[in-house]
Amino acid sequence: MIITLAQHIGCFLIVFLAGVSLLNLISGNFSFFEKLGFGFPLGFGIITVLMFMFELVSVKFNLINLLTASVILIIAFNSAAFKRKARKDILSIKIPDCVKNFSLWKINLPWLLMAGVLGYIIYGITAKTLFWQPLAYDTLTGYDYMAKVMAAEGVIKNSIFSAESPTYSIRASYPPFVSGSFAFAYLCGLKSSTITGSILFLSLIVIFYTFLKKYVTHTNAVFFTLLMVITPEMLAMSALSLSNCPQVFFTFTGIISLFLWLDKGDRKYLYLGSISLALNVWARSDGIVFIFAGACMLLYDMIKNNRLKDIKSWKPLILPGIITLLPFISWQLFISKSLGVTNSNVFVAHLFWDADKFSELYDLVSHVVKSTQYYGLVFYLFPIVLIINIKYILKDKTALLTAIFSAFFLYTFMYYQMDNGGKAFGYALRSMIFSSFKRGMFPIIPIICYYMSSSKMVDSIFRKII
C-alpha cells in the first residue's frame, strides 16, 4: 500500500513539476505561492494537451508515455529558462516577507479568525469531494465516463463514439481538459478521479489570495477569499466533478493576469494570461466568451491610452492571441472532422430581435443573479462597492470592470442567441438559465470579488481598520 501511495504521489508530483516548469519558461520571477497555485492546473493542462497530441499522431497514450513526455518537457522548459540566465531566480526559494518579518506584535486576530473559518470550509468541502465518488448525472454520463474510457483505451476518439453502440452524451465531446485530468487519475490507478477537482479548487484559493495580495492587505485578502469561496452554488459544484469549477481557475487567472500586465507592465503576466485563457477554453468551449472579455479589456486600455492605431501596441499581442485561440480552433476541428459531432443547431446563425425572448431572459437572469442561494451576497455587494467607489470608477481598475461587464453581457447574449426548441427540458430557455447559465456565472464571481477587494475605497477602509 505504501508503494502504491508513493507511485500515486510520484505521478502527481511530475504533473506539478511540469506546470512549474512551464512557469519557469515564462519567467524566473514568479513567487513561491504563484508556483504553488499554478503548478497543478498548468500541469494538468500539459498532460491533456499531450493526450491530444498523441491522438493526432494516432499513438495510444498511457501513464508511461505521458509521464515520459512530461519529464522531457520539464527538462526542456527548465533548460530554456536556465539559458535565459534565470537559474538564480528559479532555484532560489524566496521566503515570503510576512514569514521573514514575523513577530508576536504582528499577529492579526481578525485574519486568524477568517483564515480559521476558511480552513474549516476548505476541510469540509475537500472531505466531501474525496469521500464520495463522482455521482452527478453530467459527470456519470459525460466527463467521468469519458475519462474512464479514455484511461482504458488510451484514445480520445474511443468506443463510446462507435456507430454500432454509441453511448456518448454531449458532454463527452467537451474539450478534453476535464475528462483528460480525470482520466489521468484513473491512469495512476486511483479508483476515483475526484482528487483532481479538489486540487484545482485548492489551487484557485491559493492563486486568488496571492493575486489579491499584490494590491491589498492580508485582512482584506482573506475576507474576500472567504467571500469568494463560500459562494453557495459554486462551493457545492466544486465537489461534484463537473467542468465549471476547473474552468473558473483559468478564467480568473487569465483575466487577472492580463489585467496585471496592463497595470504593472510585467510581460510575464501577458503570457500567463494567454495560456490561462487558452486552458479556460480547453476546459469548456463557452470559455470563448471570456477570451472576448479579455480582448475588450485590452481594447479599452488601448483606447484610453490612445494606442489603438499604434502598431507597436498590437505586436506583443500576436503570439498570445494565437496561443489563446489555438485550443478552441483545434478542438472544434477535431470534434467535427474526427468525432463527427457538431454544435451547429445550438445557436441561431443570424442576429435577431425577439422582444418576448429578451424580456423572459431578463426576468430569468435577474432572478438567478439575485438569488442568495446561488451566489450569496456577491451580486448585492458589487453595486454597493461601485457606488462607494464612484469617484474612482473611471480612474482605477476600469479595465477590469470592462472585463467583468463584457463577460456578463456576452455570456448572457449567448443564451439569447440559443435556438431554444420547445418547452422540453434541456432546450427551453428557462431550464438552460437555471442549469447551465447559473453555473456559467461561476467564473465571473472571483473576478468580481477581486475587483471589490482591490477597489480604492474598500482597500483604504481595510487599511484604516486593521
Binding site: N101, S103, W105, K106, I107, N108, L109, P110, L113, M114, V117, Y120, I121, G124, I125, A127, K128, F131, W132, Q133, L135, Y137, L140, T141, D144, Y145, K148, V149, A152, S159, I160, E164, S165, T167, Y168, S169, K191, S192, T219, F223, I230, P232, L235, A236, S371, T372, Q373, Y374, Y375, G376, L377, I465, I466
Partner: protein, 204 residues
C-alpha cells in the same frame, strides 16, 4: 523666563512629542504592529459579520449547516463503508443491480436490458429508484458508466441497435427476461437476475 516663553516652549514640546508619536505610530504601522485593543475590537467585529452572514443569509446558512455540517456528519456515519457500499448509499438498488451484472458477466458481454415499462411499472411496484435526472438503469449512458466495457442493448430500443441479436446475457428485472433465454430455468426464479442467453450458467 517669561510666562509667554514658557508656554511657547511647552506648546512646542507638545507639538514635538505628538509629532514623534505620529512618527512612532507610522513606524508601527509600517512595521506591522497592531495595537491589542484594535486587534481585539476588530476580531469581534469580524466575528459578528461572519455570524450575521451565517445566520441571516439563507445561502450561507445552507453552506454552513447542510453543505458542510450535514456532510461531515454523514462522512462520520459512513466512514467504514467500502467504495462500492458508498455508491449503494447514494444510488440505492439501481447501483446494486448494475454491480451484480458487472460481477457476473465478462467484460466482453453484450447485455439485453429490460424496457422502461418493466423497470418502472404503472402500479409503481419496483425496487428501482425512480428516475432522477435520468439516473436509472433505463439510461444506456448512465448504466454504461458502471458496466463499461460491456455493451448494452435495450428491449424497447431493439430496432435501433445492431447489437440486439448479439446479446450474450439477459438482465432479468421484475421477473421480466426469462422468456428471452434459449433454455428453461428450473428451480427458483429470482425477481432480479443476470443469466447467459444461450447456455445456463455452470452449476457449482
Amino acid at each position: 523666563m517669561s510666562k509667554k516663553h514658557t508656554h511657547r516652549n511647552k506648546t512646542h514640546l507638545k507639538t514635538q512629542t505628538s509629532r514623534v508619536n505620529v512618527e512612532k505610530a507610522k513606524d508601527n504601522n509600517q512595521s506591522g504592529r497592531i495595537s491589542i485593543l484594535k486587534n481585539v475590537l476588530m476580531f469581534f467585529a469580524f466575528a459578528i459579520i461572519i455570524w450575521l452572514f451565517k445566520e441571516k443569509n439563507n445561502g450561507y446558512k445552507w453552506v454552513h449547516k447542510t453543505l458542510i455540517g450535514d456532510n461531515l456528519k454523514k462522512i462520520e456515519q459512513y466512514k467504514d463503508l467500502t467504495f462500492e457500499q458508498r455508491y449503494e448509499v447514494k444510488l440505492g438498488f439501481n447501483y446494486k443491480y448494475l454491480e451484480a451484472i458487472k460481477n457476473n458477466t465478462p467484460d466482453t458481454a453484450v447485455i439485453l436490458m429490460p424496457p422502461a415499462s418493466v423497470v418502472f411499472p404503472k402500479d409503481g411496484q419496483t425496487d428501482f429508484k425512480t428516475a432522477d435526472e435520468g439516473q436509472s438503469i433505463t439510461n444506456a449512458t448512465w448504466s454504461s458508466y458502471f458496466l463499461y466495457p460491456r455493451k448494452l442493448v435495450y428491449e424497447d430500443k431493439k430496432e435501433l441497435s445492431p447489437l440486439y441479436n448479439k446479446a450474450t446475457h439477459v438482465a432479468i428485472a421484475n421477473n421480466w427476461g426469462y422468456e428471452k433465454l434459449k433454455y428453461n430455468v428450473s428451480g427458483p426464479r429470482p425477481k432480479h437476475h443476470i443469466l447467459p442467453i444461450n447456455n445456463p450458467p455452470a452449476q457449482r
